[in-house]
């Protein structure tokens, strides 16, 4: 699936904010006033821990998550990503600031809601998937999936119907009578996912759900999650310590370090314009193939050499582009060659939004440089050196 275009569709379809973090501080402990004061004075986490013995989980986090978005909170362990996630359904207390969730027509703050509304939010609005699965070992797969539905007091028939439906969705229908302990890790997490989906809540909190799995299974589940998301359109906050995972899944990524969000943006923005050295280090070790658009690595038309009214694509191969003029799509000519030109495959004309992986495949299959078009105009070309440039991470500012 082409994730990039999927994310754009989502953006066009929806525009409403589902979850909003406003200047959220999380300090673990019972009396946190002193720590908050020290935080305001600009003290670091370590200094505060030495003075008050309390751990600052998150400081001054601002984030808006739109409907249908997968927002990945990315950072190393201890960066506060899980702490921030857990504020949404009240597993962590927000020490200061607010986290509001769209509930019905209005934005509700979990910590300030009445007990009934909190329960309503947890049973119907938000559900969660855990890193270590957190399945009840004494219940069967089916009973585990039904767990959230039991708390909704659904009639038994309706409950069974929904359980069957979700088990079908994650491909576990034939395992429903086994205990979780009898399943592999990947299957257990599918049960966890089915349990979270069963309540039909719009918000899904996923706390490093695939970290405990083998790489192959992890990739498979990532694909499945994207497929499910295309079908269901949930609002997902996904916590991960793996930038490749974040780039693959996220429609937006918030990178966290020492409790702060240091960069928030689209995957491509993060890769092309890392906010600081920390992010740049992360980005340097990722695979750009799935993230970058062809336009990010092309040589723009304006930078092409001109010779006798023609733009040079490849001098050795004698490939030239006729000048770019409004209304007329240029074409490729070979000016040194006598007689008919060689047959140049048509598929080297690609849209500027093609992912780098697809572009490379086209280059590999055709053996020719690629011509990028946008709105019926040539915007640039990609030659081998452009690919090498991007693969070596030299496009990073």
């Amino acid at each position: 699936m082409n994730t990039q275009s999927l994310h754009e569709q989502i953006d066009e379809r929806t525009n409403s904010t589902m979850i909003e973090f406003k200047q959220v501080d999380v300090v673990f402990g019972s009396k946190v006033d002193k720590s908050l004061q020290l935080l305001d004075q600009g003290m670091s986490r370590d200094e505060i821990r030495k003075q008050t013995g309390q751990v600052v989980g998150v400081k001054q986090a601002n984030l808006k998550i739109k409907k249908g978005e997968i927002c990945v909170l990315m950072g190393l362990s201890g960066s506060g990503k899980s702490s921030l996630l857990r504020c949404v359904n009240g597993l962590n207390q927000v020490s200061r600031g607010s986290v509001s969730i769209r509930h019905g027509g209005e934005m509700v703050e979990f910590s300030k809601a009445t007990a009934d509304v909190q329960r309503e939010l947890r049973t119907r609005r938000i559900s969660m998937v855990f890193q270590k699965f957190a399945l009840m070992p004494w219940l069967t797969v089916k009973e585990n999936v039904a767990f959230g539905l039991q708390l909704q007091n659904l009639p038994v028939a309706e409950r069974d119907r929904r359980v069957e439906e979700k088990l079908e969705l994650v491909g576990l229908a034939e395992w429903k009578d086994l205990k979780p302990g009898e399943l592999s890790g990947g299957m257990q997490q599918r049960v966890g996912l089915a349990r979270a989906l069963a309540t039909d809540s719009d918000i899904l909190l996923m706390d490093e759900p695939f970290s405990a799995l083998d790489p192959l299974i992890r990739q498979q589940l990532q694909e499945e999650l994207l497929d499910l998301q295309a079908e269901l359109g949930k609002t997902i906050i996904f916590v991960s310590h793996d930038l490749d995972e974040a780039l693959k899944l996220g429609s937006r990524i918030a990178i966290m370090k020492d409790g702060e969000i240091i960069q928030h943006g689209r995957p491509e923005e993060i890769v092309l314009h890392p906010a600081d050295e920390y992010v740049r280090n992360f980005v340097a070790h990722t695979n750009p193939l799935n993230v970058l658009q062809s336009s990010s690595l092309m040589t723009p038309v304006s930078e092409l050499k001109e010779h006798e009214g023609l733009l040079c694509i490849d001098e050795d191969k004698d490939l030239w582009l006729t000048p770019v003029r409004n209304g007329v799509l240029p074409h490729i000519v070979q000016k040194r060659k006598q007689g008919p030109s060689e047959a140049i495959p048509a598929n080297i004309w690609i849209p500027a939004k093609t992912t780098m992986r697809e572009a490379m495949e086209t280059r590999y299959a055709s053996g020719y440089p690629l011509i990028l078009t946008e709105d019926d105009e040539v915007v640039g070309i990609i030659r081998d050196q452009d690919f090498y440039h991007a693969l070596l991470g030299k496009h990073i500012a």
Binding site: N89, G90, L91, R119, E120, L121, R122, T123, R124, I126, S127, M128, F130, K132, F133, A134, L135, M136, P137, W138, F147, G148, Q150, L151, Q152, R195, T199, L205
Partner: protein, 280 residues
């Protein structure tokens, strides 16, 4: 130094006065309490003794055979037949009833206390030395006041048994509940469990193996108290042991002791096998 020793602190007298006062004030209540308990235990024994022994032995053997516990079935059948043959059937039943009754009391008090302690750290800090005390203080020490309160009979024996055995279910319930994985608690909360639902849907099922181990231990500890219960007048297998002790009767002592051991092994195995099946 002599002066120091001469002026002995009247600790023992104080306690005696308190107990005397309680005995005097609450005599009617304690008597009524003792009477009711004694009637319940007596009637239960009578009901079981109404059945012909053979029918009960066969019923148990059959039950174990259906559960596919063939070795245990053969052992139980032979052990009970031996007890019947030696003439200790009635005492065995009386002991069984006493043990079951005290275990029920221990469970009814111990499990809620264990749960409360697991939820409130301060309670456990208070409780722990108390539990240690209850298990280490020599039984005879609290047997004396219970005797004065309730008089001779099954009740002081029952109370001593409960004091001695209740620590096991409290401790193991506490352990089970406090060791429920944090993940599971969070999962429960995140799906909207109330405190009550959290207890019944997550904590108790998760702690069940530990709680059941506590119950088994409780039964075994109760059984180990039969001789002491007999000293203050409770019926059961302890009685022939005490009689044998008083008359230096080796033969009787051996027979009654063997019956206690056989009963203990049997109960332990039957309980453990039923737990194993639940766990699988």
């Amino acid at each position: 130094m002599d002066a120091f020793i001469e002026h002995k602190l009247p600790l023992g007298q104080y306690v005696e006065q308190i107990i005397d006062w309680i005995t005097y004030q609450g005599a009617d209540v304690f008597d009524a309490f003792a009477y009711v308990l004694e009637m319940i235990i007596l009637k239960l024994s009578e009901i079981i003794l109404w059945f012909p022994p053979i029918s009960l032995i066969l019923a148990l053997t059959l039950y174990l055979l259906i559960k596919k516990r063939i070795g245990l079935a053969v052992f139980s059948c032979l052990a009970l037949a031996l007890i019947l043959n030696l003439g200790y059937w009635q005492e065995t039943v009386e002991t069984l009833v006493l043990v079951m009754f005290s275990t029920c009391v221990c469970i009814l008090i111990g499990i809620p206390v264990g749960i409360a302690a697991a939820h409130r750290p301060w309670l456990y800090t208070v409780l722990r030395p108390l539990l240690d005390l209850m298990q280490t203080i020599p039984t005879f020490v609290y047997l004396i006041p219970t005797l004065t309160l309730f008089g001779l009979g099954v009740v002081p024996g029952l109370i001593s048994t409960v004091i001695f055995a209740i620590a096991a279910p409290i401790r193991l319930t506490y352990l089970g509940i406090s060791e429920v994985p944090k993940d599971l608690i969070e999962a429960g909360k995140s799906f909207g469990c109330s405190h009550r639902q959290l207890l019944f849907k997550i904590e108790l099922p998760s702690a069940m193996p530990s709680i059941m181990a506590g119950v088994t231990q409780c039964i075994m500890l109760s059984l180990s108290m039969v001789v002491i219960a007999a000293l203050v007048g409770a019926d059961g297998l302890g009685k022939p042991v005490v009689q044998a002790l008083n008359t230096v009767d080796v033969a009787k002592g051996f027979e009654a002791g063997l019956a206690i051991v056989l009963l203990a092994i049997m109960m332990d195995r039957v309980l453990k096998s039923s737990q194993l099946q639940k766990g699988a």
